[in-house]
């Protein structure tokens, strides 16, 4: 019975590369990892958006309409739905003049209880200390 904690740090904007989306899909995969492990062993994933990475969180992304692909917005909602913790750096949002009104904060329409936490970078640093392994995207 052990837990391995992973910290996913997204530092780049969406769509230039698919990596921000892969960060979220891999984090979501923490839900099905038990099939490979012994009873009671788990892997947990937390995701933090920092720097230009906070641009992944903008609302109303029309990626499906224009390019027929899912948006990073929809992936953030999926992450919340499976109870992945999602952090967004407060200072970086402020730097871009963005507020909680501009970004995805919940996935209520899918029945998710989890919401996005806008936190100071210091708390993200604490999360990085706390996890067993870091994955920077």
């Amino acid at each position: 019975m052990a837990t391995t904690k992973l910290g996913f740090i997204v530092q780049r904007p969406p769509y230039k590369s698919e990596n921000p989306k892969l960060a979220l899909t891999h984090a979501i995969a923490s839900q099905s990892v038990e099939v490979y492990l012994n009873d009671g062993d788990i892997v947990t994933a937390e995701v933090a958006f920092i720097g230009d990475g906070v641009l992944n969180c903008l609302k109303d992304q029309k990626a499906t309409e224009h390019y027929d692909i899912s948006s990073t917005e929809s992936h953030i909602k999926m992450s919340l739905l499976v109870d992945v913790k999602v952090f967004v750096c407060k200072e970086d949002l402020a730097k871009f003049g963005l507020t909680e009104n501009d970004i995805v904060m919940d996935a209520e329409e899918f029945g998710a209880d989890m919401t996005v936490s806008v936190v100071p970078f210091q708390e993200i640093n604490k999360m990085m200390e706390d996890v067993n392994h870091l994955l920077f995207f």
Binding site: P13, P14, Y15, K16, D52, L55, L58, K59, D60, Q61, K62, A63, E65, H66, Y67, S71, E73, K95, F96, G97
Partner: protein
């Protein structure tokens, strides 16, 4: 030379735009380049917009990223793919994708 320059990145890793001195310069913001049209950092607009040029931003790429085209800066014209075709055939002679 009448040159249409495409900027597709938010963080430029090249400084070429500042060095080009064509007779007529158009800057077409596409892909993640569209962030230059709207995102301020610490209150300041993107330095890309300081270039002496005509600015265009692709509507599809703004909206894909969750940016309302109404929020784009005044000196940037929001355009479509069809408009890009017309621009490069009618208003410019050469193109450069930075």
């Amino acid at each position: 030379m009448k040159l249409a320059v495409f900027v597709s990145d938010f963080r430029n890793t090249v400084d070429t735009l500042d060095r080009l001195k064509p007779e007529k310069l158009g800057v077409i913001l596409v892909g993640n380049g569209v962030y230059h049209a709207v995102i301020k950092e610490n209150g300041a607009p993107s330095p890309v917009l300081k270039t002496s040029a005509d600015f265009y931003a692709l509507a599809e790429d703004l909206e894909t990223r969750g940016i309302n085209t109404a929020n784009v800066k005044n000196n940037v014209k929001v355009i479509s793919y069809g408009d890009i075709v017309d621009l490069i055939f009618n208003d410019y002679e050469k193109t450069a994708w930075l």
